[in-house]
């Protein structure tokens, strides 16, 4: 008798455990994987780029005039006058002219200097880009 009661209790417990397990398993299966969503790009739109021609190169620098243009960054006058001095010392057949760009700031224009360069220069060194 006691054996029958024990077997019945064990059977009920097993059934309960099985039901609990399947229920948990169902819940786990019912929980969706993290849902995919769509978002908008946060970016602005860059412009197209028009490629420009680069100037043809020189055969050599002998007898040529190089304009060394100072855009006014602090101490660029020291650097670029030293560069002009280097040409005088090391390449005396090349004429190096130091020129201080007019106006203020890297963006400022100096039409008179640009016109002079167009007329007289064979090459240009400009500084300082920081």
């Amino acid at each position: 008798m006691n054996r029958h009661i024990s077997a019945a209790i064990i059977a009920v417990l097993c059934l309960g455990f099985f039901c609990s397990f399947t229920s948990l398993n169902d819940q786990a299966q019912a929980a969706p994987a993290e849902e995919k969503i769509t978002v908008l790009t946060p970016l602005g739109t860059p412009p197209s780029i028009k490629l420009k021609n680069m100037a043809p190169r020189l055969d050599n620098l002998k007898g040529k005039t190089i304009y060394i243009v100072d855009n006014g960054y602090p101490s660029s006058d020291l650097l670029l006058t030293e560069m002009a001095a280097w040409f005088e010392r090391e390449m005396p057949e090349t004429k190096a002219l130091y020129k201080r760009k007019g106006g203020f700031g890297f963006e400022s224009e100096d039409p008179a200097l640009w016109a002079e360069i167009k007329e007289k220069a064979d090459a240009v060194i400009i500084g300082l880009g920081h």
Binding site: M54, L58, I125
Partner: protein
Amino acid sequence: MGIPATAIVLAEFYEQEKEKALQVGMPGVRTQWIKGPVWAKTREQLRRDVIEGNNPISGRPVMQEIFEKFTMPLTTEEKRTGEIKRDRGPETYTGTPEELQKLFLEKRFTDFLPIVLPTPERVNDMLRGTSHDPDEIVGKMSPTNTGDYFEYWTFTVRDVAVNAVMAGCKPEYLPILLAIASADPRTGNSKEAISISDNGFVGALVINGNIRDEIGLNYEVGAVGPYAHANTTIGRAWSLMAINLGNCGKVGTTYMGVIGNPMNLINIVIAENEEKSPFKPFSVRKGFEKGENVVSLFEGWGILSAANWAVNRWGTEMDYPQIMKDIAAQQGFLFGSCFVLSPPIANFVKARFGTIEELEEWLAPPPPQMPGFAKPKPATEGDAPAAKQPAPKMPAFGGFSNTSIIVTGGSNNNYWSAGGLRYSRSIRIDDWR
């Protein structure tokens, strides 16, 4: 001009200048990279480190490379012409929220903090904040709005709304963001919050009008700090707009601040405490009606507590106008002076000056003094002849005459802030509702 040229640039700017060269259509431009810095070095140091030194990138002699840049024939790539069409990439991204947070971080769409993901639903909800067409072009922005140094990206009302969502803004903040991002009618350019400059600038906003209370901007205790939802998210959105709509803040290419500036995260957002200020609101002094909703833009070094200056002589009898005058005399030439006064300090000032205009006139600093800035150094006897050629003097930026005074914050003590912020312009917010 058809004349070969080379620019002398510090090697630290290599990545930035390569991108810049591409943007202007000359990706093969022959730049000469040198060892920096140049500023503050002696003639002898520059001769040794640069003229007789090597290109830090290639390891080859600088002057030899300059010679070759003028004489080596152009390569096929350098001769390439035509047009490079560009777009902004995919219009949408799909993934789990975790994947998208990671993707936005990797693509540098964020300020490195988690964002609110801009789903179409959230963006449409944000667009309720304005009557403007989502496809309307608002402006164009670059990492510096000075000239055309870097390319400008264009953007729409919807693009602004996307970034507003990401920053956590509410729809009622959107008109302020659109006003901030709108094109300056004088230049056609929008103002970036994060400048490319190696100085490490910060953007600042002053907001006046009834909108301060409508959206809950804080202008009492902690006014300039991140202590209210509107102040914090509006400031953050300006930086996210700069990053995503103007290509700003990318270290090495579009951001070169030597030290950096922590204020770039949420900028300086100042809702003026008009109610407790004894002076006319800032916007009224710029020609707007009292109560009119206006946002004013600034840029500069930033501000810090005036208590940091030695001229802020602590004592029982504080002469605040004199301290302001002494601080103004110490400000640099780029951005002039900016004073952010708490109401108690403003009242002390008011006791002596009836209007801000009177105070500004009295504060007018001395003539510019810029010792050494691009001023030609006298050549010495030992210098080569070319080194003796004179260089003309450089005029000032004119920032000395730029003084801004704003009143905000609490009345719980006599503290206030000062620094360098240059006023740019004021925009009517309601035009963007």
